[in-house]
């Protein structure tokens, strides 16, 4: 919104804006305080990534070791594999999982029967609320040798084997179950974005003789373009963050080739050796990569579409 204002030349001075909209700014204050206290202030603690942190000595009392923890991470025999798996899982989830809620929202938008629409919406966003542990237990049961998924697949000629015992099936199981769990919830924001599209644009399109498909392509999609781009940039900003919880609940030593990611490796290392500094170093590495990628994509996005996070 601020961007648009700047665009059309209506540059408003901050002081004037505060005086005019003081109540809006007041609402902002608790959020600012929250971020300052709980997000920015603790950032100073990231220096333990460069120290040999020991809880007894505290942050200031622990000695500097520079890049030792980073070296320890990069020189691990598994570093390459971990990075590859992290990016594979993340990008696959992105490429398959990002469009799905959009397509689903568009399809749902075409449904005329309101009660049916509401029913479908409710059913599809229920899985989002189910605990991850329960979801993973279900996945393990369904993908077992005699599980329902394997039985169904064997009709199409797939081998009857527990999917989670073979490296090649891990990424599909992980990504597809993730999409199933979240596409309903993720589609909500797009459905609400539809309501922001000016109905007169639809009327104009109908007058010009556009059918439903053409209306979707030429009115709906461009209408939510901004939302899509912003969400995409945000999503890309967490590309290195493949969480360990779901993977730990699903993996085993036999399929580490495709399932061991940076966070699970750090988790295991933490168990053997309580490495506060090591995990901070890896976390910092992840954050730096994420940040650089977000900057890059924001720049590209601004160049291509004039939309960006900032």
């Amino acid at each position: 919104m601020l961007g648009r204002q700047l665009h059309t030349g209506m540059i408003v001075s901050l002081k004037k804006d505060i005086r005019r909209n003081w109540d809006a700014y007041l609402l902002l204050v608790p959020a600012i305080v929250f971020f300052a206290l709980f997000c920015y202030k603790p950032m100073y603690g990231v220096i333990i990534a460069f120290k040999d942190y020991s809880p007894g000595r505290g942050i200031t009392g622990s000695k500097w070791v520079g890049l030792m923890e980073f070296q320890s991470f990069f020189s691990s025999v598994y570093f390459g594999r971990l990075l590859r798996n992290t990016l594979t899982i993340s990008l696959t989830s992105l490429v398959l999982g990002f469009p799905t809620p959009i397509i689903f929202a568009l399809l749902l938008n075409e449904v005329r029967h309101k009660p049916f629409k509401r029913l479908v919406q409710t059913i599809t966003y229920m899985p989002h609320f189910v605990s991850l542990v329960v979801i993973c237990a279900l996945i393990r049961i369904f993908t077992a040798e005699n599980g329902i998924v394997v039985n169904l697949l064997s009709i199409f000629g797939f081998e009857k084997v527990a999917l989670l015992s073979k490296s090649k099936y891990f990424v599909p199981v992980y990504v597809i179950s993730g999409i199933w769990q979240n596409f309903g919830w993720d589609s909500i924001i797009y459905i609400s974005a539809f309501t922001a599209i000016d109905p007169s644009l639809y009327e104009a399109a109908i007058i010009d003789g556009a059918n439903r498909w053409q209306q979707t392509i030429h009115v709906t999609l461009p209408g939510i373009k901004d939302t899509i781009i912003i969400l995409l940039i945000l999503r890309i900003g967490s590309i290195m963050n493949v969480g360990h919880e779901k993977i730990i609940l699903l993996y085993n030593s036999g399929i580490l080739e495709t399932s061991d990611v940076i966070s699970t490796f750090v988790y295991r290392k933490g168990l053997t050796n309580l490495q506060w500094s090591f995990s901070s170093a890896v976390g910092l590495f992840n954050s730096v990569i994420n940040f650089v990628i977000v900057l890059l994509f924001n720049k590209i996005s601004r160049k291509v579409s004039e939309i960006g996070l900032w």
């Binding site: 320890s72 085993n252 295991r268 309580l274 490495q275």
Partner: protein, 511 residues
């Protein structure tokens, strides 16, 4: 004159007595705060502070206790604001272990206090030099009151159990050698219709190797760290490991080993045993009991289990290793350096190692939770067959600490009676019948300057060997590439890994 002499004599006697053992209840009394994780068996019934056990403990020691139950011990310790006494796995929960915790000024070095304030603990340690070494740091300092296992029956509580009723039916005896075990599984498969004769989940499969239950026939003690005449070995890197893998692969290929071992869960394993899908399982003593109970409740006729000892090369030999846990498990109480009551805390913690304290911690209160029957403390019906329907652990939770951890020496009569069924105690005795003590490496602490390197090597090597184990057994990786496997281990630094452990072990032995 006479009065003064009498008084002086009495005082002298008192002083002399005080030098031999601590006297309880402690005359001056006092207040101490004690932090330990919560135990579900206790909290199911009441708060620990309200139990008859804690009341008796306070009475008998003369000290008022304030109990704290942090939900996350690592964070609690790091927060700095701790109770006088903190019970935890200090070597694991504090990076760098006990030694670093002392150097960082977090816990107090108790070595100078033990003689005066914890004589019973010191006496026990002096009488058991291996134990004393296990609880000391590499430079000989003592800063913890450890949970100790006083008898061998307490040190091995898990192993392989098989359907003894099937053995009887088939006219077979409990297998001792690898061939006999194989033949038993074949008989289970062919004559009893067991489609997964030996069922093990992934963790258990690793444990049968790391605890040497299946490795002795091939000349391998176990696949983890062990020592032979003071030389440290790592089983996963030994040549003889290949034969172990060949044996396991044979079991897998001939459908004797459960194919779903990578993904199977505990419940399915148990149901396999109950439904006759399997005839052998890796389980703890408690697990034997729960299987027998489930079979009873499910009306499975004749279902019976027996434990089998670690497999050996030739009949009559003794296995080299088992699930041997040694006299210490790492759980210990440390006194925070910031405490104002270090001497008092020592005196309090010493109580567990006295005769009276031993009985209280292990058996509870005489007349209520145990009675002396022919000199053996015997749990009462309140504990073993609780009228309120509480489990044995829950009932114990009110009166004693034997089922859980604390600063005391565990007594074998606890475990022998804890097991409700004779098969459990028999299984434990069978599993413990090995020479593990000759090969075991005690809990040695890695020297601080090598800890980081060791940690990195440990994660990488551990990931590697476990992954390759799975791939070798399932056939995804051919055993013909075993030499390359050894080469990979070389490149990952296995020699250095073993070297560091050897250094730690040598330091331990030298103390």
């Amino acid at each position: 004159m006479k009065k003064i002499l009498a008084l002086a004599l009495a005082l002298a006697m008192l002083v002399a007595m005080g030098g031999i053992a601590e006297q309880y209840p402690i005359a001056e009394g006092g207040k101490l705060s004690y932090a330990v994780g919560e135990n579900a068996a206790i909290t199911a019934i009441s708060k620990w502070a309200d139990t008859p056990f804690i009341k008796a403990l306070q009475e008998q020691t003369g000290i008022e206790l304030e109990l704290v139950h942090p939900s996350n011990m690592n964070v609690y310790i790091a927060s700095g604001d701790c109770a006088d006494i903190v019970y935890s796995y200090w070597n694991n929960d504090y990076p760098g272990g006990v030694s670093k915790a002392i150097d960082d000024g977090v816990i107090a070095d108790l070595t100078p206090y033990l003689e005066d304030y914890a004589p019973d603990y010191l006496a026990y340690l002096d009488a058991n030099p291996v134990v004393k070494k296990s609880v000391s740091t590499s430079d000989g300092r003592i800063a913890t009151f450890n949970m100790l296992r006083g008898d061998p029956e307490l040190m091995t509580t898990a192993g392989i159990a098989v359907r003894s009723d099937w053995l009887e039916e088939l006219g077979m005896e409990a297998p001792e050698t690898a061939e006999e075990f194989y033949e038993m599984l074949v008989a289970f498969r062919d004559q009893k219709g067991a489609t997964a004769a030996l069922t093990l989940n992934w963790w258990w499969l690793q444990m049968t190797l790391e605890w040497g239950m299946l490795t002795s026939p091939f000349g391998l003690v176990n696949t983890d760290f062990y020592q032979v005449d003071g030389v440290v070995h790592y089983g996963y890197a030994e040549e003889s490991y290949k034969q172990v893998l060949e044996y396991l692969k044979k079991l897998y290929d001939e459908n004797l080993l459960d194919h779903t071992f990578l993904t199977i869960d505990d419940t399915t394993e148990k149901s396999n045993m109950l439904n006759g899908v399997s005839g052998a399982i890796g389980v703890s003593g408690g697990g034997v009991g729960s299987l027998l109970t489930l079979a009873e409740n499910g009306g499975i006729e004749g279902f019976d289990l027996c434990g089998i000892s670690s497999l050996v090369a030739n009949k009559g030999e003794k296995g080299m290793y088992a699930q041997y846990q040694g006299p210490t498990n790492g759980g210990c109480a440390a006194i925070m350096a910031s405490s104002q009551n270090i001497e008092l805390a020592c005196q309090f913690l010493n109580y567990g190692y006295t005769e009276a304290g031993h009985l209280l911690y292990n058996f509870g209160i005489e007349g209520e939770s145990y009675n002396m029957v022919e000199g053996i403390p015997t749990y009462t019906d309140f504990i073993l067959h609780n009228p309120n329907g509480w489990t044995v652990q829950q009932a114990m939770g009110q009166y004693l600490l034997g089922f859980s951890e604390g600063p005391y020496v565990s007594d074998k009569y606890y475990i022998l009676q804890y097991y409700a069924r004779p098969q459990q105690a028999e299984a434990v005795v069978v599993w413990a019948d090995v020479d593990a003590a000759d090969y075991a490496i005690p809990m040695v602490s890695i020297p601080e300057n090598m800890a980081n390197e060791f940690g990195t090597l440990s994660t990488d090597i551990s990931t590697f060997v476990h992954e390759q184990l799975a791939l070798f057994i399932t056939g995804e990786r051919s055993l013909d590439t075993f030499d390359e496997y050894l080469k990979s281990l070389d490149e990952m630094g296995i020699a250095r890994y073993i070297e560091i452990k050897q250094t730690a072990y040598d330091e331990f032995v030298a103390r």
